[in-house]
Amino acid sequence: MIYFDNVTKVYPGDDLALQDVSLSVEAGEFVSIVGHSGAGKTTMVRLILAEVAPTKGQVSFESQDVHDMSSAKVSELRRRIGTVFQDFKLLPNKTAYENIAFAMEVAGQTDEEISSDVPHVLDLVNLADKTDRFPHELSGGERQRLAIARAIVNQPDIIIADEPTGNLDPEATYEIIQILQKINDLGTTVILTTHSQGVVDSLKKRVIRLEEGRIISDTKEQ
């Protein structure tokens, strides 16, 4: 589903982020990418989302080079990928309901679909009573659950969660991991980046370890 073929990424100032990375993620997998800060985890996510282009090599989504796409195609690709970030990346001037509705609107859903699906997905992440709250009125865990709700509402092919638990307390972390696992159980591919060994251990799924931009291990499901 997602393929990295000898990918190297060097940021301006000779800042080497990834070096000769090759891997593939198949549909339905739950893959954790583990590494310290600066190991290259976020760069991998940004490459998949076509936010940055590789210096060398190719990143493909279903056999299509994501960096050889028109801007409209990139938007289409991003609508097929649900993203969850450490800093939530919610729209601050929109309520919980509107944040999710926006993702559905840009995906071309009808008003009827929006008004039936948004409450449902908010209920799934236990935010049914926070519909009209703005992101700044929610706790960290609630914001992340809202970000997950937004990521899954369009039933994407894949969910990419970049350090989703980085800013959360252990209880909220546990909740988020549970939700991601449930999403994967329902058939959606999940890529999770984290620096927390505890999170990875609790999952017992495929783990890719990154160090200084290189893959140092890739252990299959335990």
Binding site: K89, N93, A103
Partner: protein, 304 residues
Amino acid sequence: MSLAIDFKRIIRAGFINFMRNPVVSFVSVLIMTVTLFIMSSLILLNALLSFSLAQVSERVDINVYFYPDAAEVETLTLRDDLGLLPEVSSIDYTSREDAIESFRERHADDYLTLQALDELNENPLGASLNIQADETGQYASIVQYLETSSYGALIEKINYNQNKGIIDRLNEIMITVQRLGTIVTLFFVIISVLITFNTIRLAIYGAREEIAVMRLVGADNKYIRGPFMVEGILYGISATLLTVIALIPITLWFSSFAKTFFGGIDIFAYYVTNLPQIIIILLVAGMLLGIISSFFATRRYLNK
């Protein structure tokens, strides 16, 4: 998905953003109001100067003085002939009797002059014609007609040449003032347009994180840019409203002293009479400024 639904959603998002960012909206509207205010000043200044120029032109005329012994029948024929010229807009005929009478009235307190006049035993004044043309430039041809026609012998004096210098100078001054006024106001218009553009750019710069998030969830350019352009339109509409309201007391106050200075134009009455056109001009200018500023300000965040 239908274009109508896209359109509806973009307009709704623009309205919501406008309402939920009251400080940004307030500042942008205020800056745009200043721009529109300067634009309307340009319109009003032009009207004021054009009116004054027209007034000056209207005051320009020529007087044709006939010899005292010129036959009245002939002078009247000349008057009628002149009336047929397309350049002539009005002619006033002053007979010899009227001339002496008004002379006496003017010198009612001047005993010596009146006594001298009485001693003459006859009317020394000739009849005269006061001619007004449609445009200042047409006097030369009227004068030429008079001088070359068969009536030339009846004419003692035409005061065109005396007035010509003053007329031309006045015209020049008015045109220079009008041109200078336009240049100065245009300069301010350009400056304020640039300030408005930068204010909107700053407002959108403040929303760059939001734009990045929208892009991440896969929003098309129209979904990102559209609401900002709607906001730009709302800035334009609000600023027009504020400008139009602010101009009511200002023109009213200005009218009170400008009336005497600029030769009778009532700038408030002019403003009220031309309000529909002024509103349309300001509305179009404001909305265009909002749309174009937003369009260019969002461009740099969309091409990444």
